[in-house]
């Protein structure tokens, strides 16, 4: 549905995106992930024919974005970072205007506006001024304008930015329900969003694609070392040294847990070797009182950080941390 090949864009001397290539299949929900300024918005603006690329090609639904922009624009629904809504217009009138721009008029337009309002949960506010709506509802109006002409491809630039947690959940649900047979490209720098909505992720950093796969595959790929977290009742002296001396252990760190009543050791195995049996044995035989042993999987944040930050070797990317943002 979307084919991008060696796409580059320069802003003066600065390279916003650098020869990126990717494809999106029909019906896929692609998460476009990257820190601010990574080139997500630039790529989306090129895909929606808002601006031309410096080099490379992009095809949407079989049409080149530069050669046949009108054909591409007919098939794409786009929600930019700032919802492009007119504050002094009534919601339904605004959607009718957008439909008219797509050549949908008369009774067809009425139907299209009606179903867009319903799909986005806007039926209650159809007669209200957009400027008087809350940020969450304005965002919904932004999504409604993107789907009013029933496009094959939906491109959403940070659809949940600036919303409160409840609204975020609602918008995510809305996006999921819209996906269906549509192809959706969604950009975000909020990680759980990708987890909940996308079938595939594309991580972009400094204008380059650093990873592209399903989420599970990417984190498996990165889980080079096996990381084990060990919770013990008594931090007996010498435990640290014993753990370190286990064959196959690369690193051990210690942190207080349960308000100092217990201690947690994070043991990293070299080359992903199996060390759980040896480690637990030491914990038991040393009389530390083993409370818990578990394998830490790399959370999405860590995957993301690992891919988008350049750190000196021996980085702490494997360190477990809470999943909340």
């Amino acid at each position: 549905m979307i084919e991008v090949q060696k796409l580059s864009k320069f802003y003066g001397q600065r390279k916003a995106i650098d020869e990126i290539s990717f494809t999106v299949e029909k019906g896929e929900v692609l998460g476009f992930l990257g820190p601010n300024g990574a080139g997500k918005t630039t790529t989306m603006k090129i895909l929606t024919c808002f601006m031309p690329a410096s080099s490379g090609t992009a095809r949407v639904a079989g049409f080149d974005v530069f050669e046949q922009p009108l054909e591409v624009k007919r098939r794409v629904g786009y929600l930019p970072e700032t919802p492009p809504v007119y504050n002094d217009m009534i919601v339904a009138d605004f959607l009718a205007f957008k439909a008219a721009l797509h050549g949908i008029k008369g009774p067809d337009a009425k139907k299209a506006v009606g179903s867009a309002l319903e799909n986005c949960g806007l039926s209650q506010v159809g007669k209200r001024l957009i400027g008087n709506l809350s940020k969450g509802y304005q965002q919904r109006v932004g999504i409604a304008q993107a789907i009013v002409h029933n496009p094959q491809v939906l491109i959403l630039d940070e659809p949940t930015i600036g919303l409160d947690p409840k609204q975020i959940i609602e918008i995510r649900g809305l996006i999921k329900s819209l996906a269906g047979e549509r192809t959706v490209v969604l950009s975000t720098h909020i990680l759980p969003e990708v987890q909940t909505t996308c079938s595939r992720v594309l991580i972009i950093n400094e204008g380059k694609i650093v990873a592209s796969n399903t989420l599970e595959a990417i984190s498996a790929q990165l889980r080079k070392g096996n990381v084990i977290s060990l919770l013990v009742k008594n931090n007996v002296t010498g435990l640290m040294g014993k753990l370190r001396s286990v064959n196959g252990v690369a690193n051990v760190t210690e942190e207080p847990a349960d308000g100092g009543a217990a201690a947690r050791f994070v043991v990293t195995a070299a080359n992903g070797g199996e060390i759980r049996d040896a480690v637990s044995e030491i914990a038991v035989t040393s009389g530390a009182g083993l409370l818990e042993i578990k394998r830490e999987s790399l959370s999405l944040e860590e995957v993301f950080l690992k891919l988008t930050t350049v750190e000196p070797s021996g980085s702490q990317a494997g360190e477990p941390s809470g999943g909340a943002l």
Partner: protein, 257 residues
């Protein structure tokens, strides 16, 4: 370029004037100033007529020369001040609110957007001109004004306003700041009003060129009730040129942004 898309955009922008206080404030200000001017000019005309009746000396004041032409001449000056306020929002506001992304990613051509915006502003100016219809109508109750002259004055005014609006469209496409757009428009339009001043000191050739560029000179014939093809073409080509520049400015905006 299809008419349907152009009209969709024109309609949206025309309505936008009336869904904010802009339209009503501008209409009120314009009506007040024009009403005051009509009243004053009419008073002077009545005085002159009375004096002529009393003394029967020289030439009597004529309805066209002493009433209709001054009114339209002044109307053009008022429009010169008011039109920048009407056109400044056309593109600047869309850029500021990011709604330009909606227009530029919709399946419409840039030329349709530019022309649609131009039509919306010119449409609103036409509404302003309609507000002045009561003046000639009241005249025709008391006397017999030359409606040929009046209609030609209206046509000339619409054409001249078209040039103002096209300059305004260009200026608004250059910036996302409405004040800047308005100030640029006012400066540019005023300059083309007084461009002839330089003609007096310029050589013969340059003098003629500068004189030809003067917007107001091309109104002369219309204000006498004469349809002048030459001036008609001048106004249309000026509109075309400014809109083309606006088109180019917006095209480069997407290349740069």
């Amino acid at each position: 370029m299809t008419l349907s898309n152009t009209l969709t955009i024109a309609k949206k922008d025309f309505k936008a004037y009336f869904s904010s206080p802009i339209a009503y404030i501008v209409m009120a200000v314009f009506s007040f100033i024009m009403g005051y001017m009509f009243f004053s000019i009419l008073n002077i005309y009545v005085m002159q007529s009375a004096q002529f009746e009393q003394f029967r000396m020289g030439k009597g004041p004529s309805l066209t020369e002493n009433l209709i032409r001054p009114i339209w001449g002044n109307m053009n000056v008022v429009l010169l001040f008011i039109i920048p306020f009407i056109t400044m929002r056309l593109f600047a506001e869309e850029k500021k609110n990011h709604t330009i992304e909606l227009l530029f990613t919709a399946p419409v051509r840039l030329s349709e957007i530019v022309f649609g915006k131009f039509l919306s502003a010119l449409g609103f100016v036409t509404v302003l001109l309609l507000l002045t219809l009561p003046y000639p109508l009241t005249l025709s109750i008391a006397t017999k004004p030359d409606w040929g002259v009046i209609w030609m004055c209206y046509l000339g005014t619409v054409l001249m306003a078209g040039v103002y609006v096209s300059v305004g469209t260009l200026c608004s496409s250059l910036t996302e700041n409405q004040i800047i757009a308005g100030a640029l428009t006012f400066g540019a339009v005023l300059f083309f009003w007084i461009i002839k001043w330089a003609a007096y000191n310029a050589g013969a050739t340059w003098g003629e060129i500068l004189g030809y560029l003067s917007i107001i000179d091309h109104f002369e014939d219309f204000s006498r009730g004469v349809f002048s093809t030459k001036d008609f073409v001048f106004y249309l080509s000026a509109v075309g040129m400014w809109l083309f520049l606006a088109y180019k400015a917006l095209e480069s905006y997407t290349w740069r942004s």
